[in-house]
């Protein structure tokens, strides 16, 4: 069985409701479940009828929930970097660089990384207490960016590592030929070079996250019976394919909401589709959400490894 489940999809298709119903069903069947909302516009607490924060809160037996606050993660990370900088650099240099920190939180990529840090924290410090972690994700654009971030960053880290190795090799040559060169006082070994060490640790962290997304996670796309959400589901499938994250299933939510004609694109026809009927009277309260029939989806999730092995 996979240990993580991600529910992706266009804004408003019902990712939070579907992921909450999935988590509630599993928890009520006896699994220890943590559900985490990564969406900056949180409404998981509303669905579960409780107030959630950045730490896991027990919602009911076997089910804990949290809402990740991305701002806290960005601030925490910048503060750690600022302290590291202040202790490593000489005074005047730190003073000049310090001024960059105030604008770092607006830098492209920071929000995506904050999501990754939060997932890494959940994986390393919290997931040990649970059988599985269910993620309610932000709308497509941010989700695809954070899912792609380990792959993109790994390419950069690989190139920077190669360049660093060339630098260290050159330093070694110079030190061997001329031990009184100023270069001799700098790091010449991979083991001593902190930049090389940091690149290695970033590589390992990104590799772990990449494995989490591609090997340990069940990726479900939630869509509605309309053309727009089908188009977006197709884009998600193509993008996941490009970054080598296998799509596991489609959840057709709000089935029967409209009589307008629609078709599931043939490129999506190879994936299992799990239908969730539209409830015209609305879903009121946690028990109503828990009442959504998730049996088939849970069965597919539980047997997913067997499916994949069978397909290979």
């Amino acid at each position: 069985m996979k240990t993580n489940a991600f529910f992706l999809g266009k804004g408003g298709v019902g990712k939070t409701t579907t992921s909450a119903a999935f988590a509630l069903s599993l928890a009520r069947s006896g699994k220890r479940v943590l559900i985490a909302s990564l969406d900056p516009a949180h409404n998981l607490g509303d669905v579960l009828e409780t107030t959630l924060g950045d730490q896991p809160k027990n919602v009911e037996t076997h089910l804990d929930a949290l809402e990740v606050d991305l701002n806290i993660w960005v601030q925490k990370y910048l503060e750690e970097s600022r302290q590291e900088l202040a202790t490593t650099y000489s005074y005047d240099m730190a003073l000049n660089l310090n001024s960059f920190f105030d604008i770092m939180k607006y830098a492209p990529g920071t929000e995506e990384y904050a999501v990754l840090w939060a997932i890494e924290h959940i994986r390393c410090n919290l997931s040990g207490n649970y059988d599985l972690v269910v993620y309610d994700t932000p709308p497509t654009a941010l989700s695809l960016r954070f899912l792609a971030m380990p792959a993109i960053s790994s390419l950069w880290v690989a190139e920077l590592t190669k360049l660093r190795e060339r630098i260290l090799k050159k330093r070694q040559t110079i030190t061997r030929l001329n031990s009184e060169s100023p270069v001799a006082s700098s790091c010449v070994d991979k083991d001593d070079d902190r930049v090389y060490g940091k690149l290695g640790s970033i590589k390992n962290r990104l590799g772990d996250l990449s494995n989490l997304f591609s090997l340990e996670s069940y990726m479900a796309v939630v869509l509605n019976p309309d053309e727009l959400s089908v188009s977006e589901a197709l884009r998600i499938q193509e993008e996941l394919d490009r970054i080598h994250i296998p799509l596991s299933a489609l959840c057709l939510n709000k089935k029967g909401i409209s009589t307008a004609p629609w078709n599931l694109n043939e490129k999506l026809s190879g994936y299992p589709v799990f239908e969730i009927d539209f409830v015209s009277s609305g879903l009121h309260g946690r028990n109503a959400v828990a009442g959504i029939d998730m049996t088939k989806l849970i069965s597919d999730f539980t047997n997913h490894d067997t499916h994949r092995k069978g397909n290979l």
Partner: protein
Amino acid sequence: MNNFLDNVKKAYKIFLQVHKEKATGIAEFELKELENIFSLLILGGFVGMPSPPVPIAMELLPYMERELTIMLARSDTAQDPIGPLFGILDVD
């Protein structure tokens, strides 16, 4: 006599060191170029160059004091990039 031998030893040492410096001069120039490129890649985002995601740059920045000093020194001679190399090669 001992004094004379000491002086010869010192002169030989200086002679050796001068040649070592000459032998590694070009390699040191290349090394500084590589270190400068490394810094430019990390901090390129600030001057409009393609760069890794900012958080990666932020993680490496605390350990790059030497590279940053070289980059700043390089920016001082940016108008005369060949000058330092010609200096090493004794070209006037």
